[in-house]
């Protein structure tokens, strides 16, 4: 797997081209081709992970040219874990999608769907392992456009409108990122992250306003794409109007890779010392605190299950940013862990919600009451996901909550820990009523015993199992994230 770093990017793109080409001829090939490509991607990612954990970061110089001149990608532990997450997550989502989406999308739209999903996967993979800011930007753009594509692929007016809004706002975000990259280049002369990181202290001393501006622009640019609180306006529409599998991809995986990008820029390029000399983390702190409360409170008022999940994503992203903005290893590890955990639970929730919507044709919370009687397994998975969101012990959400709270106390700020705790309570306030009504609410006559087909049910159940499993045996992601956080803070 020496070529793994190149393959995880190239393979999905190749798959996308081939699926797109085959789509108009034999749609079945495109469907299973997409799932297969994602599965191979997951396999490569897993082998990369095992390799990276044994031998340390893996740098791959595309074209054989080393860093300052050529384009390099580097799979470090963070990259490998997120790649694994992307690969496995995408495999499960596409497995769900291949049985679920044909009915939801229709033949014409479906042709575009599989290549777009794979393009998105390739873009995300490139984003998390890019070593230079230029590639980071390019991959972020590929992700944005492909993401818009999978929102609006079925041409429903609401989806079109949401996609348009997302497209324009993310164009603003990419403008900001491009500008920031150019500014950094102008003061350091590099695009390679390591090289910039070495040159930045001197540059920050002589051009304080340029570097500060660049950081602010990165925060705005990636903040827009990752739906950081005041910049989140596009998310609820986009994530709720998209087809179900797309919602899972978007809410579970896509927003996460931008967080990873921002974490890399903050911690690997700027480094903790320089970062906390700028106001950026403090700004992020307040925004994220706002996100945790705004997202939750608005979610309470939602009547549509997918909108509820979308607002919950805003709150949970706030939670991740909150951890990242605290200058503590534990908090950052908790935040990165939550990147992983939230992806697992949110994908589980969206897929379960998608299955419910497909079976009943209803998406309002009231219409789905009593659903547990006709779809017991799906509802059970949803319940586990919801409990994990609240952070009940024994689920993976608890572990990340633990570390973020511990980080807050490391800083001597118990009030921050209270904030974390209070936001958990708020997430209970919108998940639990639905879960309760699913079990005990009146049944408006859902069809009996109508679980989805196995290919649809399996991903949901697997993800719920992962929620519990990593809740009880959190070693796998946790150890790595602690290591990553440690390496972040070792940087000077």
């Amino acid at each position: 797997m020496a070529h793994g770093p190149a393959l995880v990017i190239a393979l999905p793109f190749l798959g996308a081209f081939v699926c797109g080409w085959m789509g108009s001829r034999r749609i079945g090939f495109a469907r299973w081709g997409a799932v297969g490509t994602a599965a191979i991607h997951a396999f490569i990612a897993l082998s990369l992970l095992s390799r990276v954990t044994r031998n340390g970061p893996l740098t791959y110089a595309t074209g054989g040219w080393p860093a300052p001149l050529g384009i390099e990608v580097r799979v470090d532990i963070l990259g490998a874990v997120v790649l694994t997450l992307l690969g496995c997550g995408a495999t499960l989502i596409l497995l769900f999608a291949q049985s679920h989406e044909p009915a939801e999308l229709g033949r014409q739209a479906e042709r575009w769907y599989w290549p777009l999903c794979l393009t998105l996967l390739g873009g995300m993979s490139g984003l998390v392992i890019a070593k230079d800011l230029f590639n980071l930007f390019v991959m972020a753009e590929i992700c944005s456009i492909a993401a818009c594509g999978i929102i609006s692929v079925d041409s429903r007016p609401a989806a079109l409108e949401a996609s348009f809004k997302y497209l324009l706002l993310s164009a603003v975000g990419s403008g900001a990122v491009l500008l920031a990259t150019a500014m950094l280049y102008s003061v350091t002369g590099y695009l390679d992250m390591d090289a910039i990181s070495r040159a930045l202290p001197a540059a920050a001393a002589s051009f304080p306003r340029v570097t500060m501006g660049a950081l602010a622009l990165y925060l705005v640019g990636f903040g827009l794409k990752a739906a950081l609180f005041p910049l989140h306006v596009w998310l609820p529409d986009a994530h709720s109007a998209a087809p179900s599998a797309s919602s899972a991809l978007l809410s579970g995986l896509v927003v996460k890779v931008y967080v990873v990008a921002l974490a890399r820029i903050g911690y690997q390029v700027w480094g903790p010392d320089l970062l906390w000399r700028s106001p950026a983390p403090y700004v992020m702190f307040w925004f994220s605190a706002g996100a945790m409360f705004f997202g939750s409170i608005v979610a309470i008022a939602q009547r549509d299950i997918k909108r509820l999940l979308a607002y919950s994503t805003i709150a949970q992203m706030g939670y991740i940013f909150f951890g990242l903005s605290l200058r503590s290893e534990n908090a950052v590890a908790g935040a990165l862990l939550h990147v992983f955990n939230h992806a697992v639970m949110k994908v589980c929730l969206f897929l379960a919600a998608g299955a419910m919507i497909a079976r009943t044709g209803k998406r309002d919370l009231a219409g789905l009451s009593g659903i547990a009687r006709s779809m017991p397994l799906t509802t059970a998975a949803f319940t586990i996901g919801a409990l994990a969101m609240i952070g009940v012990p024994g689920t993976n959400g608890f572990i990340s909550k633990w570390y973020v709270a511990l980080g807050a106390l490391d800083l001597g700020r118990p009030l921050y820990a209270v904030l974390v705790v209070a936001s958990s309570l708020l997430s209970g306030a919108y998940y639990l009523p639905f879960v309760i009504s699913a079990y005990f609410g009146p049944d408006p006559g859902h069809p009996r015993g109508r679980e989805g087909p196995p290919a649809e049910l399996a991903p949901i159940v697997i993800l719920a199992a992962v929620c519990v499993l990593t809740g009880f045996l959190p070693r796998f992601p946790l150890q790595h994230m602690l290591e990553v956080a440690k390496s972040f803070f070792a940087l000077r």
Binding site: V138, I145, L160, L168, S174, L178, A182
Partner: protein
Amino acid sequence: MSQQLLGHLNFLGAMVLFAVGLYTMLTHGNLIKKIIGMNIMDTAVFLFVVSLGYVRGGRPPIGAAGTAAGFVNPLPSALILTGIVIAVSTTAFALALAIKIHENLGTLDADEIVRRTRSG
């Protein structure tokens, strides 16, 4: 000196254009106008990047074949080229969406669109 001034002039121009683009994008309800605004904003960013390179006083990266010492790092150019590609793909995609929206809802006005999608 004149080079510096020229660079700064372009900085200024880029900023004004960025503001104009953003303003167009945010205040106009018409989707196509928004798209044009987005394009203006993008080109303003590119202009900014190009003039950055100019202030640093480089030479064009291509032309002096074989004389390795004469090369300027070609990365900023590549950056903008890619930016242009992305801008045009975004534009094309946005236009396709706009046409679809017009087909479905018979309007291109953002407020009107929101009203019509919400009502049914």
